[in-house]
Symmetry: C2
Subunit: 424 residues, 2 copies
C-alpha cells in the first residue's frame, strides 16, 4: 500500500475522484446500517433462550426455607453470590447481588456519595466545591455523563496500551478535589485493552489526597474473551489490601452481555466497610432486588464452569464479527491515515483517524446511511479535542450488513484523509 | 362486656390475676409467631405460579420488531404501559414502567431532587436549609425513613377517617420549607382507610408556598380490595389539572402484592413535564429496566380484566386473614381499652390502645413469642408520642398461627390496660 501522506497532490486528487465515484454508488443504495450500538445481536441472545423457557416451579423458588418469591434478603441470594464469586474470583461476602443494571449501581453509588458522602467522606460530595473526576480517554460516554451531571469537572487522562497514563493519574490524585476515576479495566470501552499488572498496582497503591477517593472498577467484560486465550486482569482487591487501600475500590459487573441486556443480574463488590455502607443506604432505597431473576440465572447456569462454556460460545460469535470489521480495516494498512485496536475480547474497536477528521468521516457515513456512535462520545462533555476518534460496535449488525458498513467506513476514512492532504 | 374503665380496683386486680395465669400458659408453649410483616403468604404467591412456569419463547420476546431481550426503551414496554393504564385509570403516556420496586422509584425521585432539584425547584434540595416533609401518622415507616435520611425535618399530621387532617396540611404548606407529603391514599398503611373526595381535592388545590412541592402518591393498594365492594379513590390527576397543579403529583404503584414482592413491576406516573424530567435523569442512571419481566407480566395477565379477576382471588384469601384477626379483636369490644380499623382492602390493621401502653403490649407479645412491628414504627423517627399504636399485619402467618397470635394479642392488650387501671 502507498502511504497516503507521500502522495503527490495530483495523484491524491485523481484517487479522491475515483473513490468519490465509488462512494456515490453507495449513496444511491439508500442503506440503513448501524455500527453505533454496543448491543448483542439476536443470535447471541438466542444462546440463552432456554433461560426463558425453563419453568420455575414453586419448589425451585423455596431454597432452605427461604421463599425467593417473597420480600427479604436485601443483598441478594446466597447462590448468586457464590456463582459470581466463583466466576470473578471475589469473596462471596463482599458481593451485593442487585437488579438488572450495573450502570444503575454506579450511578446510585455516586448519588449516595453526593447526598451523604461515602464511609470515608468528611462531608457529602454535593458540598464539595470544585469537585473533579478522572476520565480515561477515549472511554465510556455513560460513565462520563454520570459524573458530569453530578457536577464534577471531568479531567481527561490518556489511555495507553497498558491502561491509563499513571504518571498523570498519580499527579492528579494529589489534589483533594479529585474524588474518583472511571475504569473499564478489561477490554476497555472502546479501546479493548486490559490494564497491566503495574497499572493495577499503581492504582491500588497511589497516594490520594481525598480520603474518600473511589475507583469505579467497571469490570463489564470480565469474562468476555473471544477465545480460550483471553487477557488476564490482576485482582485489584488483593493489590489494594497490600497497601491498606481496599476501601478505595467499588467493583461492578453484570450478566448484561452474558444473558440479556436489561434482563440480567448486576453486582457491586467492595470491602466489608463499603459493603456495610452500601447495604445501610440501600436498605432505605429498596426492600430488595429481583431475587427470582437472580435464581433464574443460578438455576440456568448451575455453576461457574457452565457460564464459562457459555461465554466461549458467545466469544466465538463475537470474534466472527470482529474479524469481519478488522479484515475491512486492514485495507487501511500502510496508508498512515488511521490506527485501530485489535482486542481479544469485549465489544468495541477504537478507530483513530487523522486529527480533525472524525466529524467528516461520521458525516460521510451518515449520508451513506451508516450510523456511528456520535463523534466525541468517547470523551468528556462529548468533545474529542483532536476530533479523530470513533468507536466501532460490530456486534449488532448481521455479518453482511457489517461487512458493507465497514467497506463504506474504509472508503470514508480514505476520502476524509485525501481531502486533508489535497487541502494542504 | 364490661367497660374496663369502670371496674372497681379489686375486680380489676382479680381479673388481672386470672388473665395473667392464662398468659403464663402461653409462655410455656415457646411459640414463635409473627404479625410484623406486610408480606403475602405462600398461598397468595402460588396464585401467580403459572407466571413462572409459563415459557417465554424467542418469538414472544420480539414484539413489532422490538426485541425486548435487548437494550433500549428506557420508559418501559408499550404493552405494560397499556396494562397499567387500563388498570389504574392513568394515561399510558404519563406512565414510566420500571423495575421491581416502587419504593426505589420514590427514593430515587427524592434523591434526584436532592442533587438536582425537580423541574420546579429554584435549587437542589440538598441546599434547602431546614427543609421539611409532611408525614401522615400513623403511616409507613419506609416512607418516613427516606425523608429522614435525606435530612428533612419530619412534621406529623394526624390521619382522620377521611385522610390527613387537611386543615393542618393546608396550614403547613404555607411554609416554603415544606417540600412534600407522603400519602398512601387507598387502604393507607397502616390505618386501612381511603382518602375522601374532599381530601383529594384539597390536596390537589391547596396553595403551596414551595414551587417544587410534591405529593408522593403511593397507591400501593390501588386494586387490593377484599371483595367486589372496595373503596373508591378519586383521580388526583384530574383534580390537580383543574387547578393547574398537575406537576405537584408523583404517583407510584407496583405488582409487588399482585404477583411477587421483589419480582414484580413498579411504575411512576406523572404529568408530561414531570415525566420528561424523570426520563431525562433516569436516562443517565440506567439504559433501561427489565423489559423481560414487564413482558412476562403482560403475557401472563393478557389484560386488565384478568388482573382484576386475579385480585378477587387474592382479596378473598386476605379477607379470610382479616376476619380471623378482627374476630379475635372483637373480644375487646365495649371494654374501652382499644380501637382498631376494619379496612375493606390493603394489608394492615391499625390498633390503638390506652395511651402509654403500646410498648407494654409489644413486650408482653415478645415474651410470649409473637413478633409485632416495632412500637413507634408508624411514626416519624420511630417514636409514637402517645405510645399507643401498633400495626398488625395478618397476611403472612397461617390461619392457625394467626388465630393464636391474635388470642395472645387480645390477652396482652387486656393485661396492659388492667395494669394502667390498677396503678391509678
Amino acid at each position: 500500500m502507498t502511504n497516503y501522506r507521500n502522495l503527490p497532490k495530483a495523484e491524491a486528487e485523481s484517487l479522491y475522484s475515483s473513490l468519490m465515484t465509488k462512494y456515490q454508488e453507495y449513496l444511491s443504495k439508500e442503506l440503513s446500517l448501524d455500527l453505533s450500538r454496543g448491543k448483542p445481536n439476536a443470535d447471541q441472545l438466542d444462546a440463552s433462550a432456554e433461560m426463558l423457557t425453563m419453568p420455575l416451579s414453586r419448589d425451585m423458588c423455596i431454597v432452605n426455607g427461604n421463599d425467593y418469591r417473597n420480600y427479604g434478603i436485601l443483598d441478594g441470594i446466597k447462590e448468586a453470590k457464590q456463582l459470581f464469586s466463583d466466576l470473578l474470583g471475589l469473596k462471596a461476602e463482599n458481593i451485593v447481588v442487585c437488579g438488572n443494571s450495573s450502570l444503575q449501581l454506579m450511578y446510585d453509588s455516586i448519588a449516595r456519595a453526593m447526598i451523604f458522602g461515602n464511609c470515608d467522606s468528611p462531608r457529602p460530595w454535593c458540598f464539595e466545591e470544585g469537585r473533579k473526576w478522572i476520565c480515561v480517554v477515549p472511554g465510556y460516554d455513560r460513565h462520563f455523563k454520570i459524573t458530569e451531571e453530578m457536577g464534577f469537572e471531568l479531567v481527561s487522562v490518556k489511555m495507553t496500551p497498558a491502561g491509563p497514563d499513571m504518571d498523570e493519574v498519580e499527579r492528579l490524585v494529589k489534589d483533594p478535589k479529585v474524588k474518583g476515576i472511571w475504569c473499564v479495566p478489561k477490554y476497555s470501552n472502546p479501546t479493548g485493552n486490559t490494564y497491566s499488572e503495574e497499572v493495577v498496582r499503581r492504582l491500588a497503591s497511589m497516594e490520594c489526597a481525598a480520603p474518600d477517593f473511589r475507583i469505579m472498577w467497571d469490570n463489564a467484560y470480565a469474562i468476555h474473551d473471544f477465545g480460550r486465550e483471553g487477557d488476564e486482569l490482576v485482582d485489584i482487591f488483593a493489590e489494594a489490601e497490600k497497601y491498606g487501600n481496599q476501601d478505595r475500590v467499588l467493583y461492578f459487573s453484570s450478566t448484561s452481555k452474558v444473558t440479556f441486556p436489561g434482563g440480567g443480574v448486576a453486582i457491586v463488590a467492595a470491602s466489608p466497610r463499603n459493603v456495610a455502607d452500601i447495604k445501610r443506604r440501600m436498605g432505605t432505597q429498596t426492600i430488595g432486588y429481583d431475587k427470582i431473576n437472580q435464581l433464574r440465572h443460578v438455576l440456568y447456569f448451575k455453576n461457574s464452569e457452565r457460564v464459562k462454556e457459555h461465554m466461549q460460545v458467545m466469544g466465538a460469535k463475537i470474534k466472527g464479527k470482529f474479524e469481519i470489521a478488522l479484515k475491512a480495516l486492514s485495507e487501511l494498512n500502510g496508508l498512515e491515515i488511521a490506527e485501530w485496536t485489535e482486542p481479544r475480547g469485549g465489544y468495541f474497536i477504537s478507530l483513530d483517524m487523522l486529527v480533525g477528521k472524525a466529524t467528516r468521516v461520521f458525516e460521510l457515513m451518515k449520508r451513506a446511511g451508516v450510523a456511528l456512535t456520535q463523534v466525541g462520545a468517547t470523551f468528556p462533555y462529548g468533545k474529542d479535542p483532536d476530533d479523530k476518534n470513533l468507536r466501532l460496535a460490530p456486534t449488532y449488525p448481521t455479518d453482511k450488513d457489517l461487512a458493507l458498513a465497514c467497506e463504506i467506513l474504509v472508503l470514508s476514512v480514505k476520502l476524509a484523509a485525501l481531502e486533508a492532504i489535497i487541502a494542504q
